[in-house]
């Protein structure tokens, strides 16, 4: 349930950064932010900030480097939330 919650929240965060030809329905847990969802790499830093605000966590540089797919992001969020 918690995981589904994270997933829905994350989709909401990613939505404004999607290019015109990609919709929210195209997002799946395996989606690669840059290669599959065609998100501008400059915007990944904004997604990270939005994730930090939404989940009240702080991501380190290493976390950011590892956050390549939606699943990666969920795993990092979960880890951070649990260690809080």
């Amino acid at each position: 349930m918690k995981e589904e919650n994270y997933y829905q929240q994350l989709k909401g965060i990613v939505k404004p950064y999607l290019p015109e030809d990609v919709t929210v329905d195209d997002i799946s847990p395996d989606s690669h932010f840059i290669n599959e969802l065609n998100i501008n790499s400059a915007n990944l830093v904004d997604i990270v900030l939005d994730v930090e605000d939404a989940f009240e966590i702080t991501l380190e540089n290493d976390d950011m480097d590892q956050m390549q797919t939606v699943n990666d992001a969920m795993a990092i969020i979960d880890k951070k939330r649990r260690s809080k």
């Binding site: 404004p16 950064y17 400059a42 915007n43 830093v45 904004d46 900030l49």
Partner: protein
């Protein structure tokens, strides 16, 4: 072969009107866009009145994607995108297709400083050791060329996309730069214009220089008094104006409406010599600029029927009128009509030249010379040079063929452009 250059689109986001309809109405009626600014009072400004375009977030949302709106805190950028996009639409042009830019169209859109509020936000984060929280938008909203970059991206421009900056000359300089590029065949169309942020961080420096009026905080609409004996400084303004310049050939091919032809212009500097300084113009260089503009346009002094001056409402307005008089060798009843729009707009700083070029060109469309507001008590030095009838305080009907527009800026820089109607 040199190409003839015409104006086919106009856009405006000004203190006295957003959109051509409201803006034109304000110019015709002389209704003021200058208002009391509580923010300036709270910050102990001497001058607490200013010109600021009135925009609702609903209106702004029409021009930006949800992504662009995230963290958007750059007022000049907002004004510039609104004016620029509107000018493009007004010219009947569309955005480039997804896969290929429009190689023939460029953007020359100037500013003095961009995204001041965004920069302040960034400074606070950096000073707090929180640089990583800046996100991706701080650079693109604060780089000077942010405005041309935004417009270039929205329209898909594939020609030159750049930002010029020459203080209060910026907008008029941009028109001449765009003219040069089209005339030489390097572009078919250029969206040109300029924008300026609003707010205390832009205006504070001028307040500190004590060149803004301080006695009109209770009567904002009378504060900006170009050409007047009681002028006591310029009212700070902001906004953006935009013009689509296009080769006559291209305009004809696509059946575009034509507001006016850009006959030519001149740009120079007084070198901060011969009476010129960082903040004051060298008069002989101003006269030279006006004369060069006539020469480059292939016209004579007698052809000028109306002037839209820089005329900021400081004590220097009489000097500017004298410079026009000496450059054109005309005075008294023989002097062209002359006006300043700053009485109702304030001084839009980097945006002034473009907002005023838009207004100057609208005079052809309306068959009018827009009135000078707050200039009833003409400065005696000006009245000695120019017959009062040449400085209408109310809008008059007059179909001018040729209008000269000049802007002068800090750094002792000058620009003068000549517009001519294609109507008979």
């Amino acid at each position: 072969m040199a190409h003839r250059v015409v104006v086919t689109g106009l856009g405006i986001c000004a203190p006295n009107g957003v959109g051509l309809k409201d803006f034109t109405k304000s110019l015709q009626e002389g209704s003021s866009g200058i208002s009391f600014q509580q923010e300036l009072k709270d910050l102990n400004f001497g001058c607490q009145v200013a010109g600021k375009p009135e925009l609702t977030s609903e209106y702004i949302n029409k021009y930006f994607t949800p992504l662009q709106l995230k963290g958007l805190n750059a007022s000049g950028l907002v004004y510039g995108v609104i004016a620029g996009t509107d000018a493009w639409t007004d010219a009947g042009l569309s955005k480039a297709e997804e896969d290929e830019p429009d190689w023939d169209s460029g953007v020359i859109f100037g500013t003095g400083i961009l995204g001041v509020d965004k920069f302040r936000e960034s400074i606070h984060l950096v000073d707090a050791g929180d640089t990583r929280r800046l996100g991706s938008t701080s650079v693109i909203q604060t780089m000077a060329s942010g405005i041309s970059a935004y417009l270039g991206g929205i329209l898909g421009s594939g020609n030159q996309v750049t930002t010029n900056s020459s203080a209060c000359t910026t907008g008029t300089e941009g028109v001449i730069m765009a003219y040069d590029r089209i005339r030489s065949g390097k572009a078919k169309r250029i969206l040109t214009g300029s924008c300026s942020d609003s707010g205390p961080y832009v205006w504070g420096g001028f307040d500190a220089m004590r060149i803004l009026p301080r006695k009109f905080n209770n009567t904002p609409s009378t504060a900006s008094r170009p050409l007047s004996a009681t002028a006591s400084g310029f009212v700070p303004g902001s906004g953006a104006g935009a013009l689509v310049l296009e080769s006559l050939q291209s305009a004809k091919e696509r059946g575009a409406k034509i507001y006016a032809e850009v006959l030519g212009g001149a740009i120079n500097s007084g070198g901060q010599r011969g009476g010129g300084s960082m903040t004051a113009p060298n008069s002989s260089s101003v006269q030279r600029c006006i004369k060069m503009a006539l020469k480059n346009s292939g016209i004579e002094s007698k052809d000028i029927e109306a002037i839209n001056g820089h005329l900021t409402a400081t004590g220097k307005d009489p000097v500017e009128v004298l410079n026009w008089s000496l450059a054109l060798e005309r005075s008294g009843l023989d002097f062209p009509y002359i006006n300043s729009f700053k009485g109702i707009m304030g001084h839009g700083l980097a945006a002034a030249g473009s907002m005023e070029c838009v207004a100057a060109v609208l005079q052809f469309k309306e068959g009018q010379i827009f009135g000078n507001v707050n200039s009833e008590d003409l400065h005696p030095e000006i009245e000695k040079l120019v017959d009062k009838s040449r400085i209408p305080v109310k809008t008059i009907s007059f179909r001018s063929k040729t209008i000269a527009k000049a802007s002068f800026g800090f750094g002792d820089v000058n620009a003068c452009v000549i517009f001519r109607t294609l109507k008979n």
